[in-house]
């Protein structure tokens, strides 16, 4: 099961339609401070179902929508899609390619989709249940989390063990 591409539009600082292809095993993301690197990682946590705005460094979830600049007005919605190659059927679906999407409108309505078919959050969570991926999985690590893991804040250590067990 390989990650093929990520498609972001209207999410945080990514006002314009942006697509990233993951063709190689080790991908580096570089760029100046404040350019949007961590926003890309936030978009991955978000499309995998992150429900806490604090986990995305925001006060409220509506703040994921591009909030406008002097030259471009606020976006009407945030949308992120992630496409996986699934030829070995590790994701329990018949397709060779699986795309999960999440959309949030500024009316606060949100939608989830699997291969462009609307579904519930629970359906997305079930897809990845035994794969080790999830919005707060041990596989997504920022520097700030090192102290939390070692100090075992909110029993994060046990939670990680249970995810892997």
């Amino acid at each position: 099961m390989k990650l093929k591409s990520l498609h972001i539009k209207g999410f945080k600082s990514f006002a314009n339609d942006t697509k990233i292809h993951f063709r190689e095993p080790i991908i580096g993301i570089v760029g100046p401070n404040g350019s949007g690197k961590s926003n890309i990682i936030d978009s991955i946590r978000w499309v995998l179902g992150e429900q806490k705005s604090k986990g995305l460094r925001l006060d409220k979830m509506l703040d994921v929508i591009f909030n406008g600049t002097k030259s471009k007005k606020k976006a009407g919605m945030a949308q992120v899609s992630m496409t996986f190659e699934n030829s070995k059927k590790l994701i329990p679906l018949e397709y060779d390619e699986v795309k999960v999407s999440r959309i949030l409108y500024n009316t606060n309505e949100s939608e989830y989709r699997i291969n462009d078919v609307p579904c519930r959050l629970k359906d997305i969570r079930d897809l990845f249940l035994n794969t080790g991926i999830g919005s707060n999985s041990y596989a997504i690590i920022e520097l700030g989390m090192v102290d939390d893991i070692l100090l075992d804040k909110d029993h994060s250590r046990r939670r990680m063990f249970e995810q892997a067990a």
Partner: protein
């Protein structure tokens, strides 16, 4: 459930010792201890690091870089039990010295046979170990864009950085 947890715990512990030694050195040791062995499903898990020649240490006595290495060793020990299809690191290499950056990159290379890695970094030695680099920049004020970058441009970064400031 109890047997299954204990079985996983011992596997994670063996992995942890193995990865810890490859990040520190062969003479360094470490351990994972179930504080309440009677009730494994609820017990806290204690991490003990014993870098060589020094007395066994509680985590709070480790240096900034040593803490980061210990947390990385723990994550990979969970990963070895259940490899996730992709792993993401956001500036986790920032506290590391050159030797440890090198070891971290080697560890990523070793595991990239089974999974994809997405690494956000400012460190040139880490970048040198990537298969491809994506550069994130501000297309206009406040709007992020992304394009593939050749490491050689980044290495003599004056040209790259000037584009963005």
């Amino acid at each position: 459930a109890r047997e299954k947890f204990m079985e996983s715990f011992y596997l994670i512990r063996d992995n942890f010792k193995d990865v810890f030694r490859s990040l520190f050195s062969n003479e360094d040791d470490c351990d994972l201890i179930l504080l309440d062995a009677e009730d494994p499903l609820d017990s806290k898990i204690e991490i003990v690091a014993k870098p060589k020649g020094k007395k066994p240490k509680v985590l709070s006595q480790l240096s900034g870089g040593e803490k980061t290495l210990t947390a990385i060793a723990l994550l990979f020990s969970l990963y070895l039990l259940k490899p996730a299809p992709f792993c993401i690191f956001d500036e986790v290499d920032a506290p590391l010295d050159d030797v440890n950056i090198h070891k971290f990159s080697k560890l990523i290379k070793r595991f990239s046979k089974d999974s994809q890695f997405i690494i956000v970094t400012h460190n040139k030695s880490t970048m040198a170990g990537m298969d491809t680099l994506y550069g994130v920049y501000m297309q206009e004020q406040g709007i992020s864009g992304i394009s593939q970058v050749d490491f050689r441009d980044y290495e003599h970064n004056e040209t790259y950085q000037n584009v963005n400031v």
